[in-house]
């Protein structure tokens, strides 16, 4: 199981968050155990990892992952898109007000199969196929959320949600405030974004930087099957509007996840690899480039600490801060563009809060401010590659 197990949180009114407990049997998937594993994340003690598996390799299918101390492997293996579906399905079972809307989510099963099988199970109204009208069906989701439902709105590609920007900014972000708190908008807006394999400029967009200024919105980015399921569930349960960023290239990642139900914390970052020399902050697909670079760095004698920030808005300043206080050097590796990206905001937040702990200027590696070209070579050069990450760390640690 991934080291990120330490950040799994099951939140319940009945459970004291400071003790590790097993709750009484609750809803779970058919065929799995009835008990729910409760692990409270306090983030202060990384020593809890003793005896647990650390992932030194982010892509879980590789054979060199250290074997578990137990003989039988608990949990079940699945791909990231299946993990998203599992999370969505569990929430739809749990609360009949959770519904899905988007293009081709129903009969087609979703263009990335995230909603496959859900329409036959829940019906065409709960898994609603919409016409191609992003602005309007996003607004529809918002109106439905105001009147009691909990829609999960899918953008077939994140870039299409630019058409829904009016609704996302004005209604999703602002309505709770302009109504004086009378209406809440518990929507989840999700979809795949990021640079894929020669998908062309419009299909390779990263909207996290565009949405980050919208007040009232939360943004999370998933990167592993484990956190995809946990964040999906947390986003659906949250009363705030949440934008869940998925990545086109990560849908087929395979990982073993727990059978027990778990919900992750929307606002927490994930410690991927503890280290001492430098803090590398990243999210989504760049996590894998970072981990690949980390292998090289480890061979060269460096000890990078890798944190998947996961929560793009708001930032988890606690996890990030503790890391900065330990390593004193920060490298941000992101896929969005340099100008006005998540990295710029993160840099500003770190400087504001942890200036005294820095021994070197914060380095930020982002994509070029370029519409993603079609040609494979050009496309490769727009995003950050592991070699650049290695070079950046070497420079930082001089």
């Amino acid at each position: 199981m991934a080291a990120s197990l330490q950040s799994a949180v099951f939140l319940s009114n009945r459970i004291d968050p400071h003790r590790r407990l097993f709750a009484s049997p609750a809803r779970s998937l058919p065929g799995t155990k009835g008990s729910i594993l409760v692990v409270r994340s306090d983030g202060r003690i990384s020593g809890r990892l003793s005896g647990r598996n650390l992932i030194t390799n982010a892509v879980a299918t590789k054979a060199d992952t250290p074997t578990s101390s137990t003989d039988s492997k608990p949990g079940h293996e699945l791909l990231l898109f299946e993990a998203l579906r599992e999370g969505l399905e569990e929430e739809m079972d749990r609360d009949p007000r959770v519904c899905v809307m988007g293009e081709d989510v129903g009969h087609y099963g979703g263009s990335y199969k995230v909603t496959k099988g859900l329409a036959p199970k829940y019906g065409d109204l709960r898994v609603l196929d919409t016409p191609i009208a992003e602005n309007s069906f996003t607004g529809m989701g918002i109106g439905a959320a105001m009147t009691g439902l909990r829609p999960v709105i899918e953008g077939m590609n994140m870039g299409f949600l630019l058409l829904a920007y009016n609704q996302i900014s004005n209604n999703c972000g602002m309505l709770h405030y302009t109504s004086g708190g009378q209406f809440k908008i518990p929507v989840v807006i999700r979809g795949p974004g990021g640079v894929g394999r020669q998908l062309g400029a419009e299909h390779s967009q990263r909207l996290e930087s565009y949405f980050q200024s919208i007040p009232g919105l939360q943004m999370v980015a998933c990167s592993t099957p484990y956190n995809a399921k946990g964040l999906m569930k947390a986003a659906i349960r949250s009363d705030n509007p949440v934008v869940l960023f998925e990545h086109v290239l990560l849908y087929n990642l395979k990982e073993r996840i727990p059978d027990e139900e778990y919900v992750l914390c929307l606002e927490e970052a994930e410690m991927v690899r503890p280290g001492e020399h430098v803090t590398i902050l990243t999210y989504s697909r760049m996590r894998y480039h970072v981990m690949q670079a980390a292998k090289t760095l480890v061979n060269k004698g460096y000890d990078p600490e890798v944190i998947d920030i996961r929560s793009l808005k708001p930032f988890d300043l606690y996890t990030i801060g503790n890391s900065v206080k330990k390593t004193h050097r920060v490298l941000i590796v992101e896929e969005c563009m340099r100008t006005g990206g998540i990295g710029s905001s993160l840099r500003a937040a770190i400087i504001d809060n942890f200036w005294d702990y820095l021994d070197a200027p914060i380095m930020c590696l982002s994509s070029q401010d370029v519409p993603t070209p079609y040609a494979g070579t050009l496309e490769e050069w727009t995003v950050v590659q592991p070699a650049q990450i290695v070079a950046a760390v070497e420079q930082l640690c001089q």
Binding site: L11, S12, N13, P17, G43, R44, R94, P96, R97, G123, L125, R126, T130, P131, A133, N135, S136, F137, T138, G139, M140, G141, I142, G143, A144, A145, M146, T147, G148, L149, N166, Q167, N170, N171, H176, Y177, T178, S179, G180, G181, Q182, F183, I185, P186, G216, R237, S238, D239, N240, C265, E267, E268, S311, K313, P314, D316, L317, Y318, G321, N353
Partner: protein
């Protein structure tokens, strides 16, 4: 191509409304008119600011539709929403206080003229941008259908209805067409009525210059739903159409597009000099004032006496005076209110450097433009910075289920 204008007439010898109904309609329209006139006065006296859009002349549409709705039905409006709010039952005091920007306003002073909301009265806004309320209305209608068919919650065949109001300019906007299409889809058939308040002018752009086919009601059948054109200066005609449109929606037969030909007696907003509209156009519609028309109808059909109508008018005057006094004497929102209501779950402000959620930290707005540490006494700062009980939870991190 000129719009066909239906002429006003009292057609039947029998009254089409009962005495009680007619007085309800009269009072509602007078309330809307006097309220808006008072808004204009208050604006020029510097009690309210920004963009204020007044509804004078269009009262027949609001009253004609909204007085037929039940409490569980929803209304979605535009920036011209004061009268829709008052017709739907939002206390005029709350609306006026909101316009004055006071903490007792229906949206705690955070919304203003263009954002009237009331969860209690199912008024879903108040939207500033043209057309952005229509999808929200479609969503509310979707909820109604969902509750009926998926959750099995409503009484059979009696769906909650949503009425969406918007203007002629909006009918050239994409969201209008997208929602007409979606509402009428075979699976959906949403319980919604799309009401166009065609007052012939956007701001300075007349409907005829902006629209290739100006007969908006025809766009209904283009999407498979009935399209009706009605004289929006006659509350009884509007009501007649509304009865059928709302009943259709409630029965589950789907949406209707109703185009009400109406007119605004004032400019688009209080900042609009209103120089482009011709005096004879204004005069011809002023002669069709819906309140005067209903008054004449009531007296002609002997549903009530002039004295009784006078009593209603005096009552409305008193109500409006009271709203102004209430709004004037209400407190302004305190500084502590600034960051409330941004998130329904204030954990959205994130985890601070000390490991606690920032909403639990008294200093978390330090560094914003409103940090007044230097000018306020320390204990006042502490009291103001912690959001009120109602908006955050105590220290342990809990998540509400469902």
């Amino acid at each position: 191509m000129r719009l066909k204008i239906q002429s006003f007439s009292i057609s039947n010898s029998q009254a089409v409304v009962s005495r009680d109904e007619s007085l309800v309609l009269y009072e509602d329209m007078v309330l809307g008119r006097v309220f808006e006139d008072m808004c204009a006065q208050m604006y020029y006296r510097g009690k309210m600011f920004g963009f204020v859009h007044l509804y004078n002349g269009q009262e027949a549409v609001s009253t004609g539709f909204i007085k037929l709705l039940e409490a569980r039905d929803s209304v979605v409006s535009t920036y011209c929403d004061h009268v829709h709010a008052v017709s739907k039952g939002v206390p005029p005091r709350a609306v006026m206080a909101e316009l004055f920007g006071k903490a007792t306003g229906c949206c705690r002073g955070q919304g203003g003229s263009m954002h009237m909301f009331s969860a209690q009265h199912n008024l879903l806004g108040g939207f500033t941008f043209i057309g952005e309320g229509i999808p929200v209305a479609t969503g509310a209608a979707f909820s109604s259908k969902y509750c009926h068919e998926v959750l099995k919650e409503s009484t059979p065949n009696r769906l909650d209805v949503t009425v969406a109001f918007f203007g002629d300019g909006t009918c050239n906007n994409g969201q209008f067409f997208e929602c007409l299409n979606m509402a009428q889809l075979e699976l959906w058939k949403l319980p919604i009525v799309f009401v166009v308040e065609n007052n012939l002018w956007a701001i300075g752009m007349p409907h005829l210059r902006a629209t290739s086919d100006p007969e908006i009601w025809k766009k209904g059948p283009a999407f498979g739903m009935p399209g009706v054109h009605v004289d929006g200066m006659d509350v009884l005609k509007v009501r007649e159409v509304a009865i059928e449109a709302i009943a259709r929606a409630r029965r589950g037969e789907g949406p209707t597009l109703v185009e009400c030909e109406t007119y605004r007696f004032r400019g688009h907003s209080l900042a609009d000099p209103d120089e482009l509209r011709k005096p004879d156009e204004k005069a011809s519609y002023a002669a069709r004032d819906p309140i005067t028309a209903l008054r004449k109808y009531i007296l002609d059909k002997e549903l009530a006496s002039a004295a009784e109508l006078k009593i209603i008018e005096k009552k409305v005057d008193a109500v409006i005076e009271d709203t102004v006094e209430f709004a004037d004497s209400s407190p302004l929102p305190p500084w502590s209110q600034l960051l409330e209501n941004i998130f329904a779950d204030p954990k959205g402000f994130g985890i601070g450097p000390d490991g606690k959620y920032r909403c639990e930290d008294p200093k978390f707005i330090e560094g914003t433009s409103l940090s007044l540490e230097s000018c306020l006494p320390a204990n006042h700062l502490h009291r103001c910075l912690i959001p009120s009980e109602s908006s955050i939870r105590p220290n342990s991190i809990k998540v509400r289920h469902g």
